[in-house]
């Protein structure tokens, strides 16, 4: 173990961020593309172009999400346990919606019937829309605080309800997530398609970039007045993970504390705004590849903005403040963090290398002509 416990906890907070951002960038455009499918594809061939633009890569992209879940379980077990059992129905809905994706992609074009195909198109839309919305709503609820507490045996009791998750701030966060993934999906489609679909994407990219920035800005103003959380007792960053030993205070505006302490952090939300505008400009000027990079930057900075506001909190508890989970008291043991650190350091670069190779092999646009020529092998 070359790193002390404190450093490893910080690294794992960053790794979790990397996996979430990885999922937003890679899985995000798949979700966006699936949401756009019924609207941008006006006939079967166009819809097949849209589906085939992600046919060979969505599966790998989806693993960013699965791995983020696994990493949360391994590195932050109490956070995994609280979030997944607390947000029970929200996750159940996400899961049910995600079910529709593997079978939707593989089964849709196996039969020629139009009814069969349009049913699967709707299923794929649901499989994109519901998770994109719920991920945002879940993030919003983390900022609002989650009503849960631990008893002395560390058993988790969640006191909220499913409907409680749909509070106005969380819904606004859901809108941010929806519109940014729609923008991101449209930019990706610009990279992979030509002709009418390309043109339609070009029209909607600035619209969704605008909505995202508007909602993001509004959420920022709201956060300044929202109850934030702060650890008021002395922090022991190398102590065993027992979340019940600290004191936490709650007051409006505390989420901006980190930004006041380190004004350089303002660059992150600033970057989100710049990247949003740059994405629209690049998309308009037919530079979809660069627009995709810029749009990925925008997603990353939006997620980082929320992460930096909450740090060191992972899941603040609104009903029992000291049950809140933070980076310093909700991690796995020093040894476990160290083991999975090495695994990540070895395998994450490998994943990035072979994923890039796969994208390189599959580069090039999917066209209506391609679909017609490969009627039996394409999705």
């Amino acid at each position: 173990m070359i790193f002390d416990y404190e450093t490893l906890r910080l690294i794992w907070w960053l790794f979790l961020g990397v996996l979430l951002i990885g999922f937003a960038i890679m899985g995000g455009f798949d979700l966006g593309v699936a949401m756009l499918l019924p609207f941008l594809g006006k006939n079967d061939s166009e819809r097949r172009v849209i589906i085939n633009s992600i046919r060979a890569t969505w599966e790998g992209n989806h693993v960013w999400f699965v791995t983020a879940g696994g990493a949360l379980f391994a590195a932050w077990p109490p956070a995994y346990a609280v979030a997944f059992s607390g947000f029970y129905f929200a996750l159940l809905l996400t899961l049910f919606a995600l079910f529709l994706r593997p079978i939707g992609f593989d089964y849709r074009s196996k039969l020629p019937s139009q009814r069969w195909r349009s049913n699967w198109d709707n299923a794929l839309f649901v499989g994109g829309f519901v998770p994109a919305l719920i991920f945002g709503v879940a993030f919003g609820n983390l900022l609002v605080g989650v009503p849960f507490h631990f008893d002395n045996d560390m058993r988790i009791f969640y006191e909220g309800s499913f409907w409680g998750l749909l509070n106005p701030f969380a819904l606004l966060a859901g809108l941010v997530s929806l519109s940014m993934l729609l923008m991101h999906g449209a930019v990706y489609l610009q990279v992979k398609t030509d002709d009418v679909i390309y043109q339609r994407c070009k029209t909607i990219v600035p619209i969704f970039a605008g909505i995202t920035l508007l909602a993001f800005g509004l959420a920022g103003i709201w956060v300044a007045n929202l109850n934030g959380y702060h650890i008021s007792s002395v922090i022991q960053p190398n102590a065993a993970s027992n979340p019940l030993l600290k004191q936490v205070t709650q007051a409006p505006g505390l989420w901006l504390d980190n930004y006041q302490q380190r004004p350089l952090l303002w660059l992150i939300p600033g970057l989100a705004f710049i990247a949003g505008i740059v994405t629209s400009v690049l998309s308009k000027n037919d530079r979809p590849g660069l627009a995709f990079i810029s749009s990925s930057l925008m997603l990353s900075s939006i997620i980082l903005t929320a992460g930096c506001a909450m740090f060191p909190f992972l899941i603040p508890s609104s009903s029992a403040l000291s049950s809140s989970l933070t980076v310093w008291d909700a991690s796995a043991s020093h040894k476990t963090l160290s083991i999975i650190f090495w695994v990540t350091v070895i395998f994450l670069p490998l994943i990035i290398i072979y994923t890039s190779w796969v994208f390189r092999v599959l580069r090039g646009k999917i066209t209506v002509a391609h679909i017609k020529a490969n009627d039996h092998t394409a999705y």
Partner: protein
């Protein structure tokens, strides 16, 4: 206290979702290897027919794989959703292999599976072959890490309870990885997958030969499946689970329950082929026994006895009492700080803490347990014999029938005489058996671990989340409804493409394309 019915419903939900997931996993594990073998033959011989085989069986693989992915996601969510106390209590140990599975295996499999389907025109032959092998490697590595996690539930080595964090924590990653229970389970499970996929290819190929269509295609597929299937079935049986049973106490109890071995008999113990076990009286009526066999298989020696359930029960009474002491000391540690003498005292008893937790079923505070409650907890610590006794026999029977048919098929296809109607009909008829064996095998392994989620450490009834009955009914109904719908659609597509056969590739050289002159 968490309600009994929520625990029961959570267990049903877990059983339903994992048994369902496990309808698709074995085919994926084995078919990826069969595809890799077929494609290797294509690359080595250059014969197009082997490419067609890879693509056609790949199509069926894809239909199966989609539902495997769909239902696999549930498993990863379900630990947190329905078993949050489990996740909190053992996440430090159990979470690591799951995270590693994602990084090392699932990424590999999923990134390359797209290229397997859509990379034929974009890759050289060698590159595409490499992709296919990587998919096979990824799916099998995935099984390795899942079974490392599961092996730890059966035989929890390399970890220790930490009273400060109120959970189990890793002490040795090497022990976790090289856990004998995990190693044996891995070999047994992937070999079962290879046998399942082989039976799948064997049965469908036999159907084509019987129908007299695409025989060149079907005969080659049949031969590959027969060879691979024979090797796999032999591995399943020979390298089977038994060496894992001798490790922990719970594995001993599982072995005793499977064999309805109530009393420790002088070694080597006899094997009960069949009989009517009775849990209350702790005896088996009408037992038909073969002397020596169980002792020899179970211990691989002639003089080691197999511990009977009556003796395990007696031992567990003592462990429940020690567990009470451990729990009492834990309360002092949790409320009064980590005083060194109390900690040392706690460490003396902590290996029995799990048995103390069993008392929570009867008294929330544990410390005031009566003798009667201790007796109940000790009895509760034993697995239920009757379901295990029977499912195990069903699994073994399926395995031996498959072994017979694969052996016959292998001999017949080696001497190029596989066109015998009896053999072909048998090959079709045994198709359901590997699934029955896989599902009963899962049941034997996981039901045999009860009443624990983590053997001797965490009781199942404590592991569940604090949800309501309504939550559980709604989610269970959702799963069953969706999964049933998906299964109907999957079977419909699967049967449609099986009937179409290689004609579905539209290569212009198969049955429906030649016979009717048009593509269907």
């Amino acid at each position: 206290m968490i309600s009994e019915s929520v625990v029961e419903l959570s267990r049903w939900q877990f059983a339903a979702t994992s048994l369902y997931h496990f309808l698709f996993v074995p085919v994926t594990l084995g078919l990826t290897f069969l595809l890799a073998i077929m494609e290797s033959t294509y690359v080595m011989t250059g014969k197009e027919i082997y490419k067609d085989m890879t693509q056609f069986w790949g199509k069926l693989f894809g239909i199966n794989f989609a539902l495997g992915v769909t239902t696999g996601l549930t498993m990863e969510f379900e630990f947190g959703m329905n078993w949050s106390y489990f996740s909190q209590y053992v996440g430090d140990v159990f979470g690591a292999p799951l995270a590693i599975e994602g990084l090392m295996a699932f990424f590999l499999e999923s990134t390359f599976v797209g290229l397997f389907f859509f990379g034929w025109d974009k890759l050289s032959r060698g590159q595409h072959l490499a992709v296919t092998w990587l998919v096979a490697l990824g799916s099998n590595l995935s099984a390795l890490w899942i079974l490392v996690a599961n092996g730890w539930m059966q035989n929890p080595v390399g970890a220790e309870f930490n009273p400060e964090t109120m959970r189990m924590e890793i002490t040795s990653f090497a022990q976790l990885l090289f856990n004998p229970a995990a190693q044996v389970k891995f070999v047994h499970t992937v070999a079962a997958g290879y046998a399942t996929a082989s039976a799948f290819v064997l049965g469908i190929s036999a159907y084509y030969i019987l129908k007299g269509r695409d025989t060149a295609f079907a005969r080659r597929s049949y031969t590959i499946a027969a060879g691979f299937g024979l090797a796999a079935t032999l591995s399943v049986i020979v390298l089977g689970d038994e060496s894992g049973y001798t490790d922990g106490e719970v594995q001993k109890a599982k072995l005793a329950a499977i064999e309805a071995e109530w009393h420790t008999e002088p070694a080597p113990a006899s094997f009960t082929v069949i009989g009517l076990p009775d849990q209350d009286k702790m005896e088996t009526r009408y037992a038909v026994q073969i002397p020596w066999v169980l002792g020899l298989i179970g211990t691989r020696s002639a003089d080691t006895p197999i511990t009977g359930l009556v003796d395990i029960l007696e031992k567990n009474r003592g462990r429940v009492r020690n567990g009470m002491k451990a729990y009492a000391l834990l309360q002092i540690l949790r409320t009064g700080g980590m005083d060194a003498t109390t900690l040392a005292e706690f460490n003396r008893y902590k290996q029995d803490l799990g048995y103390g937790l069993l008392l929570k079923r009867y008294t929330e505070t544990v410390l005031d347990a009566t003798d009667e409650q201790i007796e109940l907890a000790a009895k509760y610590s034993l697995p239920r014999v009757v379901p295990l006794f029977w499912t195990f026999r069903v699994m073994v029977l399926c395995g031996f029938i498959m072994l017979g048919v694969f052996f016959y098929a292998f001999i017949a296809s080696s001497v190029r005489k596989c066109r015998q109607a009896l053999l072909l009909r048998l090959s079709v008829a045994i198709m359901p058996l590997p699934w029955i064996a896989c599902e009963t095998g899962w049941f034997v392994a996981e039901f045999g671990r009860q009443p624990w989620t983590i053997a001797e450490i965490l009781p199942t009834f404590l592991s569940a989340s604090s949800l309501t009955e309504l939550d559980m009914y709604l989610s269970l109904a959702g799963y069953i409804g969706l999964y049933t719908l998906f299964l109907v659609i999957e079977l419909f597509l699967m049967l449609k493409f099986i009937k179409l056969g290689p004609s579905s590739l539209h290569k212009g050289r198969y049955h429906f394309e030649i016979a009717e002159g048009v593509a269907p």
